[in-house]
């Protein structure tokens, strides 16, 4: 039982990171209907910026409180990934808006290849380890919870609350939802569609940057190729939850995290990804639009 709860906690920690990335996929999909394949690499760029900021901080100051260091890393990473995603949307996706459906998908895949190789070229192909930022571990009823996991949980919850407020309670969120329903009509009613889409990309990128910083803190290492696997997992999570649905993305992320950690714990580590992908396929066979996705009504 203790073992099970232990795995549950590990799974939820991993799942929150997936969930944060998945929101970026699902929001972009909701608003312009494209799979932003480069989003996983935006996450990786976030982790790299956090790494470099950490190195700058440790080179410039003798000691910085961990909380302050983490906050600075996170904020700088958010700004940088936002700048990247904003630029990418502008140069690569905007000219293709309203064109042929596969064109933006291919552009996004090209962007993903370009970004990861850009980081490989500029930062080198090797893993980048950092000393552990936080190493405290608490023992509660025989279950060990690390402070890192608590930080991840708290940050995720705070972020999701702010995010929920932005999407549901502000005029910005209303504009986003309007664009999601009908972009042309929203434009006619005075919503600045281009700006709303840019902001959506920025919001997605910020969440990915936080996920990247948390990833770096949790695993203490990052490499240029780390965008792909979490990216695909988060995309899987978004689809599992029902792409376009924000609560679905969080739920999907948590589920994928849980499946992975429980499968590794009870069956085999080697096949944890196979399990996650197989469960996705099985869920989609029975619920073709994911867990919380709106069913697509086929109008005849």
């Amino acid at each position: 039982m203790q073992y099970f709860i232990q795995q549950l906690i590990n799974g939820l920690t991993l799942g929150s990171i997936y969930g944060l990335i998945a929101i970026g996929y699902t929001m972009v999909y909701g608003i312009i209907g494209m799979i932003n394949f480069a989003h996983g690499d935006i996450f990786m760029i976030g982790a790299f910026v956090a790494l470099i900021v950490f190195l700058i901080l440790s080179a410039m100051f003798y000691s910085v409180p961990v909380v302050v260091a983490l906050l600075i890393m996170m904020v700088v990473a958010m700004i940088m990934t936002s700048l990247y995603n904003w630029t990418i949307e502008k140069v690569a996706y905007r000219p293709l808006r309203g064109s042929f459906r596969l064109a933006p998908l291919i552009t996004a895949i090209g962007m993903s290849i370009a970004l990861s190789n850009f980081v490989q070229v500029t930062q080198g192909p090797r893993n980048k380890p950092i000393p552990p930022l936080i190493s405290d571990v608490y023992n509660v009823f025989g279950i060990s919870i690390s402070l890192k996991q608590i930080v991840i949980a708290v940050v995720t919850i705070v972020l999701l609350t702010v995010f929920w407020y932005l999407v549901n309670k502000t005029s910005l969120g209303r504009a986003q939802r309007a664009c999601e329903q009908d972009r042309k009509m929203a434009a006619l009613l005075g919503v600045d569609v281009d700006r709303t889409i840019s902001i959506t990309f920025i919001m997605g990128a910020s969440l990915a940057a936080v996920a990247g910083t948390l990833f770096l803190m949790y695993y203490g290492v990052v490499a240029f190729s780390d965008g792909f696997v979490p990216g695909v997992k988060a995309f899987t999570a978004a689809v599992l939850g029902g792409i376009g649905s924000i609560p679905g993305a969080v739920l999907g992320g948590l589920l994928i995290g849980l499946i992975e950690s429980l499968w590794s714990a009870y069956f085999s580590i080697d096949y944890k990804d196979v399990a996650a992908f197989s469960i996705l396929a099985i869920v989609l066979i029975f619920l073709p639009s994911g867990l919380l996705g709106r069913p697509e009504v086929e109008k005849v």
């Binding site: 069913p295 009504v297 109008k299 005849v300």
Partner: protein, 352 residues
């Protein structure tokens, strides 16, 4: 054999019901489409006409009821049990769509060749023989082009054969869709608003095409139509729906003078029902005198329809909205209550 067949209706719909969540799109609908005739299905927006079509052609599985298709050969098919593509392939029912569904990136000719898929598939030995380039497939291929040319000429599209279907004008697209459906070799052709959006000239060409189909091929036709000019001109038999229930059934003339139909189309308020009745007079009187209702009250000639109170029901699928489908909500039923008619689904008109 042939005689008995002529008397059995080609399509008989019995106690058909279709519910989407709480919404009753069709409630206990029964009607028949006589063989070799043109039957029109009319009714205000949201009356469930397209839903009936979707049940007949297998795109929806009805909640209850039986749809029997009797082919010329006497073979009977229960359409609600067949997968949609077999309804066309085996039961020989073809359809068109309200919002035209052509293969817009393929040429007009190719559209008609796709329609002959099953015949060509057999001729090509399920691809294997065709891949080897055998003569038998080449012959079948030539025949299919001849058949396509026949229908292109009928539909007056022969000059556009090599143009993409998406490049045709709206009226031509409608005719092409009908020609494509005819290329499947149907015995019953279901047309969903074939005249919608056509100008008077195109509408006339459509009438001729449909009458020609009935005359030359003996294909029975079931059509949904809002354009009363088309309905009155070409149909032999009219079924009127409102809120998923049948309110009238008979010849065009008898249906047109039915006060329930008039009330349903005009959407009169409660107080106005009586007024309308007074103005229109009793349906028996109208029938005896064979007088058309005053144009102000009768269905408009060019009428797009009068707005019904609910949206097209198909889009409501899965929604929890409960729309009252009780007779009380129906204008026609209000008239009925006041005229003292007993059976809401009893067919009226000289057919009885």
């Amino acid at each position: 054999m042939a005689d008995t067949n002529l008397q059995t209706p080609i399509l008989s719909v019995e106690h058909l019901s279709m519910k989407f969540g709480g919404l009753v799109a069709i409630g206990d609908l029964s009607f028949t489409a006589p063989r070799g005739e043109i039957t029109a299905l009319i009714g205000p927006n949201g009356a469930g006409k397209t839903t009936v079509f979707n049940c007949i052609t297998g795109f929806y599985k009805p909640t209850e009821g039986m749809i029997t298709m009797t082919r010329q050969s006497g073979e009977k098919f229960l359409l609600e049990r067949l997968p949609d593509f077999q309804i066309t392939a085996k039961a020989k029912v073809a359809r068109t769509f309200q919002n035209i569904r052509l293969f817009s990136g393929m040429t007009v000719l190719e559209n008609l060749l796709v329609a002959q898929h099953n015949a060509l598939m057999r001729a090509s030995g399920f691809t294997v023989l065709g891949l080897l380039g055998l003569k038998s497939y080449k012959d079948a291929s030539r025949e299919s082009i001849e058949k396509a040319v026949y229908w292109l000429e009928k539909a007056n599209l022969i000059d556009r054969a090599d143009d993409p279907a998406g490049d045709l004008s709206y009226g031509a697209q409608r005719r092409l869709e009908i020609a494509r459906a005819m290329c499947t070799g149907p015995e019953l052709l279901c047309l969903d608003e074939p005249a919608a959006g056509l100008n008077p000239k195109e509408s006339l060409a459509l009438n001729e095409l449909l009458l020609g189909i009935r005359r030359d091929t003996g294909t029975s036709i079931l059509l949904i139509e809002h354009d009363m000019a088309v309905v009155m001109e070409i149909s032999d038999h009219v079924v009127v729906l409102e809120y998923g229930r049948k309110i009238s059934d008979g010849t065009p003339a008898s249906v047109r003078s039915d006060p329930k139909v008039i009330a349903a189309y005009l959407g009169v308020d409660d107080e106005e029902v009586t007024d309308a009745l007074v103005e229109v007079g009793d349906d028996h009187i109208l029938e005896e005198g064979d007088v058309a209702p005053p144009p102000a009250l009768g269905p408009s000639e060019t009428s797009s329809m009068f707005e019904g109170p609910i949206e097209d029901t198909v889009e409501e699928a899965g929604s929890e909205t409960i729309v009252p489908a009780s007779p009380a909500a129906s204008k026609a039923a209000q008239v009925e209550a006041q005229t003292g008619a007993t059976d809401p689904v009893k067919p009226k008109g000289p057919a009885q």
